[in-house]
Symmetry: none
Subunit: 217 residues, 4 copies
């Protein structure tokens, strides 16, 4: 969570104040962008949310596009941090896969800002992401976790063979992503409350069943 500490050199009081301001700005940007989208977001609103002067916001971040990019990297990084905490090595492949699938679904349900910003970034054809220098923040440990689980599962004979980890990754995410991201239009069509606990748990179980059902040898 803490901003990556520079190796060995302590931050001066001023530097740390600036860093804190930067954090507040980016947090505010995430909130505003997630709620309004890029075009709908207001720089003024971000400054206000951050409790900072608009001029400083420009001094620190540059402009609206840069704000967006910083916010986008933030939501990716936040998810990556959570993913890192997953420790599936000591679980059986089936149990590990269950945990992984549940984790993704829950994360998406609990972090609408992640879905929101990804959707808008795709609306912009991912142009900002392509220009990002911090691509490392995008990297997800999930793919390797999946690969490892698939290998172990295959070896133990509990998973089918020749499953492409990346395709499975996309599927695991997609099964929850669509439900979460489109819960409002789905609600209008099916006339249900997809945010109720019952519906959420039902969906979570269904996704687990579906992935594991597919992976059966």
């Amino acid at each position: 969570m803490m901003p990556e500490t520079r190796s060995a050199t302590a931050l001066t009081a001023q530097e740390s104040r600036q860093a804190a301001a930067r954090e507040r700005i980016i947090d505010a940007a995430v909130a505003e962008f997630a709620a309004q989208g890029f075009a709908g977001a207001r720089v003024d609103a971000i400054a206000e949310r951050a409790g900072i002067n608009k001029r400083m916001l420009y001094a620190y971040l540059g402009n609206k596009k840069a704000l967006w990019l910083a916010a986008l990297e933030r939501v990716y990084a936040a998810k990556r941090e959570e993913e890192r905490r997953l420790d599936l090595q000591r679980l059986s492949p089936v149990e590990g896969m269950q945990i992984l699938v549940r984790f993704n679904f829950r994360y998406h349900m609990e972090h609408p800002e992640f879905l929101s910003m990804l959707n808008d970034e795709n609306l912009q054809h991912g142009l900002n992401l392509h220009g990002s220098k911090n691509v490392v923040a995008l990297y997800s440990p999930l793919l390797e976790l999946i690969s490892s689980l698939l290998e172990r599962g295959e070896a133990e004979g509990v998973f089918r063979r020749n499953v492409d980890p990346m395709q499975l990754y996309i599927s695991i995410i997609g099964l929850g992503y669509f439900y979460c991201s489109n819960r409002y239009t789905l609600a209008a069509i099916f006339n249900r409350d997809f945010e109720s606990i019952e519906e959420v748990l039902t969906r979570e179980q269904h996704i687990v069943d579906e992935i594991l059902g597919f992976l059966r040898p």
Copy 2:
């Protein structure tokens, strides 16, 4: 497809011109909204795309929100029309399910405006959709097709039992939706071109495998 035909009476030349203008406006709105999102879209741009005076646009549709709603209903209706064309009765459950899954994936790939608008409508928490009077346009025949296929498949013993059609519906859509909608951010992460024919076909096959793999008894 056909505009609601008034009983027996043909439309006057004027009426048909008006209808044509309305269509052009809505088409233009779909294009602009899909490309820019609601907040990013410009009414001027829609008028220009439609080749119509801005004043007339307001006379026909009312305001930006109404334009959005009309465009949203349009993309829903367009998909519904295509869905209606599916004739799965004469196919085996497995073949039918394959066709249905492929259809959805391809539709989403070929109609980014559908994904775009749904995403933005969800950003707005589906408020416009909830206010829509033409809810009938939202209704999708897919759910019944899925139910029917599941029943037949169960009866024939080729599908597992007790699969919830709505959950399966959400899954079938979600598996393709995420890939299509998020192809640009996925491209940035995996450094691939997810619009290339090979990748698209690979994904399509994977989705079919996944759904059918899950449905195995």
Copy 3:
């Protein structure tokens, strides 16, 4: 009330239809202008109130300014018609003056469109009125009635001498005009309802008292 009939020649059916349309338009204009002022009035609204096509409105009246002038002449003429009905000759000077004063007050209370339009015409420095050809419509019989009453009253010794009829005319109107025209701001200041019957009657009596009190020899 009927439009002045052309001497001796009967109107054709078409002419009378046109005349009726013109009347409807002007009536509608009076209503709209009185409610919204010149700048606030909408030509569309006038056409709609008149139940006539906007194009015809322009054909008959010309443009917004001409509509205003026609409406202005109409409200002046309407008041003049009512004034003509006053028959004060057979009354005593005091009684006649009372009637005249009461008439004016009541007319203003009952015809807010008259006040409204005069106010706005004065906002425009009376430019339209100065360009009017139908100045005859502006002519008020009141001045002569007042002169006559003053003369008789002086002769009978019931009125003071050397009262300027025009000044008295302006006073008689002014005492009621301000109360009527400014009833809303007065209401805000004095926190009373100046449209209630009691207040209206009180004011009417006060004006009569004031004029006659002044006229005492």
Copy 4:
């Protein structure tokens, strides 16, 4: 006159610049609204008159309605300030009444913006005034001055008894208000120049005569 002084602390340079800008805007608003009415006034014109950026105008005042309200309060307050300067205590009731009547007439003649704005506010049924928080600005010392003069005049036997101060207030104002506000339409009707010095002085004297004539015991 003095802006509300904050206890003991002088205004900073910045605060006083802001206050000055606000004043300029409101002055400009008064001028524009008085000349064009609410609907006819252009916010652009106000900004230009004030020599300020349109955006700042909105930052300071909010919107057109708020501009109107501020301008309206300003013209009321300006008149109240002048009224406060009247010192009638040391004059005889008759002299005091003369001064008061003349003051009102002259004020209206010299401040057409006051009449203009009141007229338009009444066109709007006084809605803005009713929503005003600064109602105190509306309060006029005139009523008490009149009451006091009436009491003293009655006691001294120079004024008639039982005159309602509020009715007299309305009359004093009305006698001049109508002449001033409607001078242009009156000019068209009587074909005179009611702004000439002679006419103005004649009217002023007439009003004095009328009020005092009425007040005779």
